[in-house]
């Protein structure tokens, strides 16, 4: 029985069946949950004791490096490694011929090879890998690998790739008419054309979202060993151990039971460590070929080529509304620049439309999204995968609708609020929904009513909202097994070990697991330890993506704890000859509620239970209920719970220089319940920081030669502390009936509104609509000047 089965709207932490504390908060009922507990790995990270993949050094370990394509798009005519192999210290060189099996994180689009087979598709694509006694020798050897290319026409612009079906970046001999389309999705819900024909108000405009990347501070790294008995072990900086495990088995043609994948401490991921990568296959293959441990550490530049960052999109949006501001329908046409491989692109293409069904009620809705291959670093999932870009367009458009109908933009959103426990037009089940409280919170905190539209010219406030998934019921590869599993092992010392496949990538999921165990078993936190993301030791979890870990692993943990608690309670009750309902676990003790004299330390209770039941432990799992619309793609974006966010951004615009300064950003986020308010606030602030920096500074692009325009942390300008405004994290707790203690996600949702809220603030400040990212000062100045020129030409109303 999964944890979900013991819950429902009447869950103990739900609105109806709960035991709210005196101040309307039920957090007081918890001893561990709801407190700003220090992260399990916080001290290790702060002191430098934490072991990251690159900290692993094994006896006899070799270092491997890639030979990368210097061509945008070319046939690989010949790879000659003889000069490299002749260099002393070189142990092996592998090429595409050594790893011919294709892979891809989405099973339906396996279009990647670890090393180029026949073709290279962008500058930086992997061609060969060299293992040598040290990095310097490997680098020298890479320069001695002779690669002969035959150039092919290349496409750097998605429009151009779409217009030219030939040459295909990925050849589909059976379907040449596919051209360079990676994925096309067109879904329509309701009579969209009819709604637009009858609408009082239609706003229509084009928007564009540029490319950005994750830039996690830890570059990707893997270490592989291949034991003489044929056991492969890979330590990798991955956020999805399980998919790496599956992909290794397939590409290396090994028995999966003879592969162990371990994720060491991770220095940030943000979606950029979700795909199985060439460096993982090549480290493993080189370990197999050489019989020595092999490390492959990427340079910062290589991380930019690996990319899988945010897709550039060109979006045409139309929104229909009635004269009173009721939103009636949306019609979107989106061109998505996918870069050179599919990666998660199938999901991206769906997400570009499927995640717009809230918090504003959309009665009708259509989207037509086309993802196109180009000869650029491949795009993929980045924090807020696929939905940050359409959200940018739509939330600006809502501001335009509000202006046209004469409503305050917060009022417009209130008026169109979808409500809680409703179904969206595209079939998504919305459970708890604290969006109205989010609007209230940012409206109040920013003093919106007294300040919006009333600040001196050059300073303004903007609002935007969003929703995001807490995991999805789409498990990447179809199966009926649990999405999250956990195992508890009980020790006579009083220690409980939790084994989880969930990947802690810095978001704090191991801390959440520890805290849930301590809460459920009434134990001290120090008596719970967590082992995570080791395929030999831990039950499968699908990994850290789609904001699923807290929700799903949290529920699995509660499930396992309650099974274990039942056993302990039963054994102690039996020994004390009392009813089990009288036995309570709390404060590191187990006692009789009706006779407090009767108590033992938890350790002793474990021993009683072990004596009674044999070696003690339990398992727990979580799987989503059946969700989603009954149509192709209807389950993509269907989540057991959605988070909701509202931002108010206060910005200053220097009309002479085009520079935008964010003065302050208020973020109210409905995370269901804040299991650890410190970590939730950290995720809210980190999301807003990232979103604002994407808008103002960060640009991931190629130049006219197809070369990355600045693959370094000097030229890819991330915001520093002096570029970051004061951020106010306002936590809203809607207590979801299905989340663990009511929790939902907090790591991705709070990014979305940052960018459109900033654009809307600029409009409030200077009356210029910024619809095209990035808002770098040169571009903003250009837009300001263009708007002035338009004003000079026409005194007609504002284009909407």
């Amino acid at each position: 029985m999964g944890a979900r089965d013991v819950r429902g709207p009447g869950a103990p932490w739900g609105r109806d069946g709960g035991e709210p504390g005196e101040n309307g908060s039920s957090a007081q009922d918890f001893r561990v949950i709801g407190r700003p507990n220090r992260k399990v790995d916080g001290l290790a990270k702060a002191t430098g004791a934490a072991v990251y993949a690159d900290d692993i050094a094994l006896p006899g370990m070799l270092h491997a490096k890639f030979v990368r394509s210097t061509r945008k798009h070319a046939r690989v005519v010949r790879v000659d490694a003889s000069r490299a192999l002749a260099l002393p210290g070189v142990h092996a060189v592998i090429t595409g011929a050594d790893l011919p099996i294709r892979y891809g994180v989405i099973p339906w689009t396996p279009d990647e090879n670890a090393l180029a087979v026949e073709k290279v598709r962008f500058i930086g694509d992997e061609v060969a890998a060299v293992a040598a006694i040290d990095e310097e020798t490997a680098i020298r050897a890479c320069k001695l690998v002779d690669v002969e290319y035959e150039d092919l026409p290349a496409f750097l612009d998605p429009e151009e790739a779409l217009a030219n079906p030939s040459p295909q970046i990925h050849e589909t001999p059976d379907k040449p008419q596919k051209g360079n389309v990676s994925k096309h999705v067109r879904l329509e819900f309701g009579d969209v054309d009819g709604v637009f024909d009858r609408a009082d108000v239609v706003c229509e405009a084009e928007y564009s979202f540029h490319g950005t990347t994750h830039a996690a501070i830890e570059p990707h790294c893997a270490v592989a060993t291949y034991a003489p008995d044929g056991l492969l072990t890979l330590w990798s900086s991955t956020q999805i151990t399980h998919y790496v495990h599956r992909a290794l088995a397939s590409v290396l043609e090994l028995d999966p039971a003879r592969i162990r994948v371990v994720q060491p401490c991770l220095g940030g991921a943000f979606g950029g460590k979700s795909d199985p990568f060439a460096f993982e296959f090549c480290a493993a293959k080189l370990a197999m070929v050489t019989g020595r441990p092999v490390k492959m550490l990427l340079t910062r530049e290589e991380v930019f080529y690996l990319h899988r960052g945010r897709h550039p999109m060109k979006l045409r949006y139309r929104t229909a509304a009635s004269a009173d501001g009721t939103v009636e329908g949306v019609d979107a046409k989106i061109l998505i620049d996918g870069g050179s491989y599919s990666s998660f692109g199938l999901v991206t293409t769906y997400y570009s439309g499927q995640l717009l069904g809230g918090p504003v009620h959309l009665p009708t809705y259509r989207f037509d999204s086309t993802r196109v291959f180009t000869n650029k670093p491949p795009c993929g999932p980045k924090r807020g995968h696929g939905s940050v870009q359409p959200r940018f367009a739509f939330e600006i458009q809502l501001d335009e609708v509000a202006e046209k109908v004469g409503l305050d933009p917060i009022e417009l959103r209130r008026k169109n609020f979808q409500g809680q426990f409703v179904k969206t037009v595209n079939g998504q089940r919305i459970t708890s929904n604290g969006f109205l409280q989010c609007l209230d919170a940012v409206e109040r905190a920013s003093d919106w009513r007294n300040r919006r539209g009333k600040l001196p010219r050059g300073r303004g406030l903007g609002i935007a909202g969003s929703m995001y998934i807490s995991g999805t019921n789409y498990p990447i590869y179809p199966n009926d097994m649990p999405q999250a599993g956990i195992q508890l092992k009980v020790d006579r010392s009083g220690l409980v070990m939790a084994f989880t496949g969930g990947n802690d990538i810095g978001q704090g999921s191991n801390t959440v697991v520890r805290d849930i165990v301590a809460e459920e078993l009434g134990m001290e936190k120090a008596h719970v330890r967590v082992v995570a993301a080791d395929t030999d030791l831990c039950p499968v979890d699908l990994g850290a993506y789609s904001s699923r870990v807290t929700f799903m692993v949290g529920n699995a943990t509660i499930d396992a704890c309650r099974k274990l608690r039942a056993k302990i309670v039963e054994a102690v009750a039996e020994k004390w000859e009392v009813e089990p309902r009288r036995i309570f676990m709390g404060g590191g003790k187990v006692f009789d509620l009706e006779d407090r004299e009767k108590q033992v330390p938890t350790r002793e209770a474990f021993q009683i239970a072990e004596a009674r039941f044999d070696t003690l432990g339990s398992t727990g799992s979580y799987n989503t209920p059946t969700l989603g619309g009954d149509y192709r793609g209807g389950t993509i974006g269907a989540s057991p719970a959605y988070s909701f966010t509202a931002h108010v951004v206060e910005a200053s615009v220097d009309e002479e220089t085009g520079r935008i300064t964010v003065e302050k950003c208020w973020v109210a986020h409905d995370c269901g319940r804040a299991l650890n308010p410190m970590l939730v606030a950290g995720q809210i602030e980190g999301s807003a920081y990232m979103g604002l920096a994407e808008a103002l500074l960060e640009v991931h692009d190629v130049n006219r030669f197809g070369l990355h325009s600045g693959p370094s942390l000097l030229d890819y300008r991330m915001a520093t502390s002096v570029d970051t405004p004061e951020l106010a994290a306002l936590i809203v707790e809607s207590l979801d009936p299905e989340g663990p203690y009511g929790a939902k996600e907090a790591g991705e949702g709070p990014l979305h509104p940052a960018l459109p809220a900033l654009s809307n603030a600029v409009y409030d400040a200077i009356g210029v609509r910024l619809r095209h990212l990035p808002f770098t000062p040169g571009r903003v100045l250009h837009e300001i000047e263009a708007a002035r020129a338009r004003e000079a030409v026409s005194t007609g109303g504002e284009r909407c």
Partner: protein, 338 residues
């Protein structure tokens, strides 16, 4: 991580020792290393031997000369320079320029000497070997083509040292040592218009000290730095301003200099001359500034050498010349973040 290329390291403790080492083939001096070492990693500089200057006492310290001028050791860190009382008082533009180089950590390593002799920068040059190989290289290093000015035969990599324009307005003199002895070079004669090698000195010349002549009581100065991010970045445009106000309240001497345009820091002589005679505390100043801005704007033509929008950089020349002059007049510099 990008690996360091191999080189021998020498750690001399005297100027004489250092000069002897620098006379050898393949030697390269290293001050703070904040620019050299990334350039070595990028295989832009391939020294056989790096001569680290950190152990030479004569290269350190800021001293007040008898005539009231400053003698600044080449190894003085940018952080120390920015905070030094005598520098703040007598050469405010220099202190302000130093305070805006890179970020705090780099200013604690980077030195005045290193900044004065900084290699020119270009988006087609400051990249890894792999990147440049995929590009087909450029004429500053390993190649023959310029990608900024197509069909150009002369490198237009940008002088990117924030301190250079400040030192130009201050008439600084640079004391170099080599095996033949010592000599002083005026800062205006140090740079030439060749991005591939924009210094008139030789590899074997060691910068020992920077001499800043005394400034009069009415000296005012400021530095303005354009960049997209408010820390770390090299200038997209740098403007230094000097206004020496006489006892009568009128500007007796004015200087303006700019950096991050072509290979050579530019003295904006005509623009500066428009300011002479104006009084910073009355309306004549605004008019003089407006004239100076127009003259400066005619002279400032950014090209697509450093990463950043050249059209915006050109448009910002007006704003930064104006604001830096105003900041000099009011003592409110540096100018940045506009």
């Amino acid at each position: 991580m990008l690996r360091m290329q191999g080189f021998d390291l020498a750690t001399p403790t005297s100027v004489e020792e250092a000069v002897a080492l620098l006379a050898e083939e393949g030697a390269h001096a290293m001050a703070g290393g904040t620019d050299l070492l990334p350039n070595v990693k990028h295989e832009l500089v391939e020294p056989r031997r790096v001569v680290a200057l950190a152990g030479i006492a004569e290269l350190r310290g800021v001293e007040r000369a008898a005539d009231g001028g400053l003698s600044i050791g080449a190894m003085t860190t940018l952080d120390a320079l920015a905070k030094h009382g005598d520098v703040l008082a007598n050469a405010p533009a220099l202190a302000q320029a130093a305070s805006l180089v890179a970020g705090p950590q780099l200013r604690r390593m980077g030195t005045l000497g290193g900044n004065v002799l900084l290699d020119t920068r270009c988006q087609w040059y400051n990249q890894t070997y792999f990147w440049r190989e995929a590009l087909g290289f450029c004429l500053k290093k390993d190649g023959t083509a310029c990608h900024v000015v197509e069909s150009g035969s002369k490198c237009v990599a940008a002088a990117s040292n924030d301190t250079a324009p400040a030192l130009i307005t201050l008439d600084a003199e640079l004391e170099f040592a080599n095996a033949d002895g010592r000599r002083r070079v005026a800062i205006k004669d140090l740079y030439k218009s060749d991005g591939a090698a924009n210094l008139t000195i030789e590899k074997r010349d060691l910068l020992v000290r920077v001499h800043v002549p005394a400034t009069p009581a009415g000296h005012r100065g400021a530095y303005g730095k354009l960049r997209e991010r408010n820390s770390i970045d090299f200038p997209l445009l740098g403007i230094a301003a000097r206004l020496d106000v006489g006892d009568d309240g009128a500007i007796a001497r004015a200087d303006l200099a700019a950096v991050a345009l072509p290979a050579r820091p530019l003295a904006l002589t005509k623009a500066a001359s428009a300011l002479v005679g104006a009084r910073p505390d009355d309306a004549s100043f605004d008019e003089a500034v407006a004239n100076a801005v127009e003259f400066a704007h005619k002279q400032l033509h950014p090209v697509e050498n450093v990463p950043g929008d050249a059209a915006w950089r050109r448009a910002m020349a007006r704003v930064y010349v104006r604001e830096t002059l105003r900041a000099a007049a009011t003592g409110s510099g540096p100018v940045h973040g506009r």
